[in-house]
């Protein structure tokens, strides 16, 4: 398991910081109109190592990652329908901000413990998947989680595994253990029947996200952060398509310090939460998500 204080990790961090320092100095020089002294070009970093995990980070945070996340609004569509018409003093944007905050808080409390547990103990994947399934209170949320989890396995197997499971990009012992665990889990998933009463592996998104990130050499913090950021992106993208706001406004929220702080704060809170203590902190959200099926017209699957 990679720890934060391993020599390689620290070396990587130092290289990364040096690179960023140089970069910032050069930009300062340009901004203040000074003639760049001596070397006018940015020196290449001596080692490309720091970019390795960044590359995986860019892949996994890409909104074009084919997980089908665009099909889910995580309860937003139902929330809008349940809060219609809005009281006169509340603007649609304010109402959406409330939902975004509740959704991020709830996603963190129910899922981050599973993301991190799978990252820290890849060998427990099947148990984590079972426990996550047992803790998902409605079929709508279950459907969304399983569809994205299985899509992630598909992307790993068809796209990422070739590069990350072996060879120069393999990120160490923990990563290859993770790759092995995903393979075992995937086999179990394929061999189990799809009967409704079956208690076999399901393929929930949160634990699989943790383990795929481990296999691709991401650190635990990034793993949790990108998970939450992708969730925020999906909700904002749904908001644009549900005509709550325009795309620029959505990007502005996504870029805002408020959103960053909120995500960091929720991750800090759940950093040491054992999966047994994961739970719902926003009870009405379960109701909105569960009642999505009652909507007369729907544009999303959840």
């Amino acid at each position: 398991m990679i720890t934060k204080s391993s020599p390689q990790g620290l070396e990587k961090e130092i290289l990364d910081l040096e690179y960023r320092l140089q970069n910032a100095k050069a930009r300062l020089a340009v901004a203040s109109g000074q003639e760049p002294s001596g070397d006018s070009y940015l020196p290449l970093p001596q080692d490309t190592a720091p970019l390795l995990s960044s590359h995986a980070l860019f892949l996994l945070s890409d909104s074009a990652l084919p997980l089908g996340s665009f099909a889910y609004s995580s309860g937003l569509e139902s929330y809008l329908a349940h809060n219609k018409p809005l009281p006169p003093k509340i603007t649609p944007t304010a109402s959406f901000h409330r939902f975004l905050k509740l959704s991020i808080t709830s996603m963190a409390s129910t899922s981050i413990p599973y993301v991190l547990a799978a990252y820290r103990h890849p060998e427990d994947l099947e148990t984590l998947d079972n426990d996550m399934d047992a803790s998902t209170p409605c079929v709508v949320a279950q459907r969304a989680s399983i569809a994205q989890g299985r899509a992630l396995i598909g992307v790993w197997e068809r796209a990422f595994r070739g590069t990350y499971a072996s060879g120069p990009f393999s990120a160490g012992v923990a990563a290859s253990e993770a790759a092995k665990a995903i393979e075992d889990f995937s086999d179990a998933l394929k061999s189990c029947s799809d009967a409704a009463d079956d208690l076999g592996p399901k393929g929930h998104f949160a634990p699989l996200w943790g383990i795929v990130c481990l296999a691709m050499g991401m650190d635990a913090r990034q793993t949790a952060y990108v998970f939450m950021l992708n969730h925020a992106k999906a909700v904002l993208s749904a908001a644009v398509r549900a005509s709550v706001m325009g795309p620029y406004q959505a990007q502005a929220i996504l870029a805002s310090k408020g959103l960053q702080d909120m995500i960091m704060n929720r991750i800090d809170r759940e950093w040491d939460t054992p999966v047994e203590d994961a739970g719902q902190v926003v009870p009405p959200l379960d109701l909105w998500v569960g009642r999505h099926e009652l909507l007369y017209s729907r544009i999303f699957n959840s």
Partner: protein, 362 residues
């Protein structure tokens, strides 16, 4: 209420281990030919357990095999609630083909908060503004063919209180079909004492309900976990604050809006199958949200006739392993109580299988 206990003076093998305050232990056995008997019943202050076996014999049952008379267990605490630091630990075992009804005859379970200034007479230890957590655990083992019906009053957490409860149910997974264990369990929590203006003003309420299955080898598997965490998220800094009143974050209120009570009903097993189907039908046949009456020129949504379902927001889902999970929220306790009591009475399973008394909290 007349409570006739039928406690038998049987020496329990657990007697020595039951010395801790707040612990209780109950074993219900079916002695031949068909005589439900409490072979163990022990408890220690502040917990009190009373039982009675009403004469009620289930007239018609969902089960084809002969069913035993339900035994009624009353969960009581001195003062009708829990003080900070109180730990209640109840362990119940329902042996094969027995039936138990569990209720709280004292009304709502009050979660008290003692004012530090009152108990220490003006002198307050620095940094000790938060009261101790009170805690309740319920561990129930339901053997094959046995059934439990647990419909208590809601918990009412007082302002500034801190409480945690863990309810664990273990069912038998070695049998299938009509010999499976059955469970009906309700867990609900209110915003506090509405009459005193309390509106989700407590510090912490954590409720976790888990159902495990156990096979021949004793291996456990988690079937269902329902976990609710209502936490005011006060950080260390605000605890050491010397001000008389803590700065409220108001996050619980924000996260429960617009409800004044939220709850969960869990249904499992052959005894409650009909009730589970009834509630699923009730959920799926609710009027569509946002439906419009296209035939008329009026653009307004079709208003459903006012009924209980329109005052209570609920969902029902057949999740897995045959569980039906019902979640609901309402503005008042009375609204939720009427709604749920109405459904259970209309459908009839609970009264048929366990008698009218099983619904005494509703």
């Amino acid at each position: 209420m007349q409570i006739t206990s039928r406690i038998m003076p049987i020496k329990s093998p657990f007697e020595a281990s039951i010395a801790k305050p707040g612990q209780g232990n109950v074993v219900l056995s079916l002695l031949p030919p068909s005589n439900p008997t409490l072979t163990t019943l022990t408890y220690k202050y502040p917990l009190k357990l009373l039982t009675r076996t009403p004469g009620y014999v289930p007239q018609s049952s969902a089960l084809s095999c002969p069913v035993s008379r339900p035994v009624h267990l009353y969960l009581l605490t001195y003062g009708g609630g829990l003080l900070p630091g109180d730990h209640i630990e109840v362990s119940i075992k329902l042996e094969q083909f027995t039936r138990m009804v569990v209720t709280t005859p004292q009304g709502t379970t009050k979660i008290y908060k003692t004012e530090p200034s009152r108990s220490v007479k003006g002198r307050r230890a620095p940094g000790r503004v938060l009261s101790d957590k009170s805690r309740q655990t319920l561990d129930v083992r339901i053997e094959k063919g046995a059934a439990m019906c647990y419909l208590p009053d809601p918990a009412v957490p007082y302002k500034d209180s801190r409480y945690e409860q863990v309810q664990t149910f273990t069912v038998d997974s070695t049998t299938k079909g009509s010999q499976r264990s059955s469970l009906c369990m309700l867990d609900w929590v209110t915003e506090g004492r509405k009459s005193r203006g309390e509106n989700w003003d407590f510090h912490l309420w954590k409720g976790k309900n888990e159902v495990y299955s156990v096979d021949e080898s004793g291996k456990k598997k988690l079937l269902l976990r329902d976990s609710l965490i209502l936490d005011e998220e006060l950080d260390e800094g605000s605890l050491e604050d010397e001000h008389e009143t803590l700065n409220r974050t108001g996050v619980i209120r924000e996260r429960t809006r617009p409800h004044g009570i939220v709850g969960t009903l869990i249904l499992y097993g052959p005894v409650f199958e009909r009730l589970a189907n009834f509630i699923m039908d009730r959920f799926t046949s609710q009027p569509r949200i946002g439906a419009r009456n296209w035939s008329s020129s009026a653009p307004a949504a079709v208003e459903a006739p006012p009924n209980f379902d329109s005052k209570v927001t609920f969902t029902a889902a057949r999740v897995r392993a045959g569980f039906v999970l019902v979640k609901f929220g309402a503005d008042h306790f009375e609204t939720a109580k009427d709604w749920l009591g109405n459904i259970l009475r209309e459908e009839g399973t609970v009264i048929n299988e366990f008698g009218e008394e099983a619904l005494c909290c509703l």
